[in-house]
Amino acid sequence: MLLPAFEYARPESVDEALAELGRHRNARVLAGGQTLLNALKLRVVQPDVLVDVSRLEELRGIHAGGDGGLRIGAAVTYDELAGSPLVREHHPATAAMSARLVDRQVRARGTIGGNVCLADPTSNFPPLLVALGASLSVRGPDGSRDVAAEDFFVAPYLTAVRPGELLVEVRLPPLASGERVGYESLQLGTDSWALARASALVRCNGAIEHARVVLGCGPVPVRQPAMEAALRGRAATTEAVEAAAELAGEDFEPPTDVHASSEYRHAMGKVMAARAVLAATREER
């Protein structure tokens, strides 16, 4: 299909990309293009200018801090996340999740930055990044600012990145000793959108010391403080976790659509929350 007319720009640096974005009110950032090209075909977006950041070296790196925290460039692909020795060592669940996303063709092109900036409510990364306590580094004409993942997702398909700004980096804090990550999702088939999703970061030393549980597939990913509080101090048994998960669903307002009702997704959100926590307590490193 022929795409609508636009100007294509391939800047050589983040500064040049920001200049392009500043010059044109109706510009879009192109990274892997695995959603944007379809949106262009469907005329859902009709930008004047497409600013291609997919080759910017500044956005292509994965770096580890001395503490095991990771700085991941926004244009790093799913394949690169999955194959990175640093990600596999310091954030094995993130690497494992990336290795199973969509299909090999999409994993070769799709990027973590494109994924989170799209802010599709059914995506894997948004709830995971909130559970990990990630922060996102956004650059604009006036400099950089860091946005906590919890504040980054504003509404479906809307993030804290303002016009003229560019997401440059995703920062994953180090996992503390005893901290593990789990994620679970309910899909109708292996290729369908998720109906409900949960990610959990759990610190477990015999008993659960701390848990961060996040539900996905509502308008934005949401923390589950009542469930988190109920888990604290409990043994990581199926019974205890499932009992705590009865309290999940706070501020979780998934839509009703052809795939499932809101009520069903809400009920399944609790099940996913329990499974994600149990997966986190049993994750092998």
Binding site: S54, D79, Q105, V106, A108
Partner: protein, 159 residues
């Protein structure tokens, strides 16, 4: 605001091409229309079916989901690169023939190119690995069993 034109250099099946493309031109159209390589098929045109799969710098990608200008400086391999019309078929192609791994044939070029990248990374894949590798390729005849067998046979892992 309108179109923009860009000179690009792209290597396709080992041959270097210099072309000027519109910013909005898809890679699959460059291959099929400008370079007359019709082996790469357009199925869904929305990234779902994998019929347009080609290899870009060693990775399988969907050529309807990449701009032609993004192929600048890249090496692309299409199904025509597997074997010429007067040459013996590539081992993967021969295995597809032996196992009747194509019915209508529409998905075949994409299946072959996805399989090619799998075997380059993992020369002896299990059946599960083959199935996962062609997850992005839809066969509208639903002939998956023979396709998986053919790929395993080419890899020497068919039991």
């Amino acid at each position: 605001m309108g179109d923009s034109a860009h000179p690009i250099t792209v290597t396709v099946n080992g041959e270097r091409h210099e072309r000027t493309v519109l910013g909005r031109q898809l890679l699959v159209h460059l291959l099929r229309d400008a370079l007359a390589l019709k082996g790469t098929h357009i199925g869904c045109d929305s990234g779902n079916c994998g019929a347009c799969t080609v290899v870009c710098d060693g990775q399988a990608i969907k050529s309807c989901m990449m701009l032609a200008v993004q192929a600048d400086g890249r090496a692309i391999e299409t199904v025509e690169g597997l074997s010429g019309p007067l040459e013996p078929p590539d081992p993967l192609q021969a295995a597809f023939t032996r196992h009747h791994a194509l019915q209508c044939g529409y998905c075949t070029p994409g299946m072959l190119m996805a399989a090619r990248t799998l075997l380059a990374e993992n020369p002896r894949p299990t059946q599960d690995e083959v199935r996962r590798a062609i997850k992005g390729n839809v066969c509208r005849c639903t002939g998956y069993v023979n396709i998986v067998r053919a790929i395993q046979d080419a890899a020497g892992t068919l039991e």
